[in-house]
């Protein structure tokens, strides 16, 4: 497995798109964090403000900004092999397909966690421009939001890697990773507020990306709505919904990768 990890690490760091995506994600996230800190500079610094700044908006957005960029890195990790026909030399070097895919997930996931941790540092630095003291990052629920944020990025990167392998390309998974949370899940969520369609409400908590947002929810906000109204699960049970989705996508990708022609 060590050779697979070395291979994937060299693969990842020797294309420009990796660095562009990381740079763009960090820049955008830091800009949002700075904007939020600026907008709340006259309010007393509390854990809610710190949570929003650190996660660049928290669960108020339908998707986590940085995680989207990390998911695209995951899509490229597998999809580029088919777009640029590098699957042949890749399998000529590492014919054990399960090891190869697992190695990609480990490296991309590790990068996702590291980049997210770096983003947290940058966002705190952005906040400190207006804050008069270093915030307490351990107070509840901030102590759960931060590891939740790292886990959320990890799961998005795994989903991206799995989708790239499932679709064996780049365009289709890119569309899927944006359309599902931004259109499909938002549609179900919003429609569930319509009284005649309230039977949709029980399904909302099982929408994987919406559920995943609970990992960075400070006080029950859910993709712009109220978590209690749509009976969202609590933070960690919601995490299992997204984790189960990521695991299912990865298992399907692995099964098809092993049985399809390369």
């Amino acid at each position: 497995m060590r050779d697979v990890l070395r291979f994937e690490w060299v693969r990842l760091r020797t294309i420009r798109s990796t660095w562009w995506l990381i740079g763009s994600g960090l820049l955008l996230n830091t800009a949002v964090a700075m904007l939020l800190a600026l907008a709340t500079r006259h309010e007393p610094l509390d854990a809610r403000i710190v949570s929003d700044v650190v996660t660049a908006g928290g669960a108020s957005f339908p998707l986590p900004l940085l995680a989207v960029f990390l998911a695209v890195i995951g899509i490229f990790a597998t999809g580029h092999d088919y777009r640029y026909h590098t699957i042949q030399p890749t399998l000529a070097a590492i014919p054990q397909r399960a090891r190869l895919l697992v190695g990609k997930v480990i490296v991309v996931g590790g990068v996702a966690v590291l980049v997210t941790a770096g983003s947290v540092v940058l966002n705190i630095a952005a906040g400190l421009v207006w804050w008069d003291r270093f915030p307490d990052l351990t107070s509840p629920p901030l102590g759960e939001v931060l590891p939740g944020y790292l886990l959320l990025s990890l799961l998005w990167s795994v989903v991206g890697t799995a989708l790239g392998q499932l679709f064996r390309g780049v365009p289709a998974p890119l569309v899927a990773i944006l359309v599902v949370p931004l259109v499909v899940e938002q549609l179900v969520l919003r429609l569930s507020f319509v009284p005649s369609l309230d039977w949709l409400a029980p399904a909302v908590k099982f929408l994987p990306f919406t559920a995943g947002q609970q990992l960075i929810s400070y006080a029950g906000e859910a993709s712009g709505g109220d978590a209690t109204e749509v009976h969202m699960l609590a933070r960690w049970p919601s995490a299992t919904v997204l984790a189960a989705f990521a695991a299912a996508a990865l298992a399907a990708a692995l099964a098809l990768f092993r049985h399809r022609d390369a």
Partner: protein, 296 residues
Amino acid sequence: MITATALDKRYGHRTAVDHLTFEVRPGMVTGFLGPNGAGKSTTMRLMLELDHGGGQTLFDGRLFGTIRHPMREIGAVLEARAFHPTRSARSHLRMLAAGSGIPYARADEVLEFVGLAGVAGKQPRSFSLGMAQRLGLAQALLGDPGTLILDEPANGLDPHGIHWLRDTLRSLAAEGRTVFVSSHLLSEMELMVDRLVVIGRGWLIYYGDVAGFVREFTRPTVVVRSPQAAKLASLLGTEVLDDGSLRIPGADAAEVGEAAFREGVVLHELTTETASLEAAFMTATGGAEEFVGMTA
């Protein structure tokens, strides 16, 4: 030594490769010939376990997927442009080296060998087909493997490049390596290969040495010149051509010479013309072409 046994691949009702069995021996270059759509690339993909199908291929007795670092033992290139356009040639090779436990320095060595040292740090998006082929060969040689499998490596190379490739593959084979190479350049294959595997519509047409293939699928022609050409033509039951020569397909030069001697006919030339590999290929695969164009 490569041992391919009963290789088989079907797409629905269409058979792409039909129970192919052959061996590729070390110390020589083995050519892989067939018309477009004959199943050459699919066969190579089956051998490298890129495609799933029937049969098995053993490399010195082992399946490809069971070899821990296959690039150190089998260098394969099936597509000329199998690289990311913005990853430099050196980084492309270092990536593969990293996955195979090969020192990074080897990447520069093989780039130097194939003549791409000057563009090692360049993005290969602007590489010509010939440069891409050279990068592919560098990739195949990265692990200093004992076996090479190359699909159309001469495509896009200029005459100097083709000459260089021929010398390179022959010298690699002379070192005891197993070289299996497909190509459409039949004149080049004639100069390069020692043995042939010829397929058409997925089934084996011929497996053996080049001379045997030409013998099996063509007839030699005896060419005779004589100041008594008309008498000789009458004797042999043929006609005198415009250039004054006689051409007798399928004849034996010794028998023609003896017949002339018995009748007192003076000969100025008595030669046997052997058909080319191309002629033999056209005869052997004439009925196995997948795609046939119209003649103007």
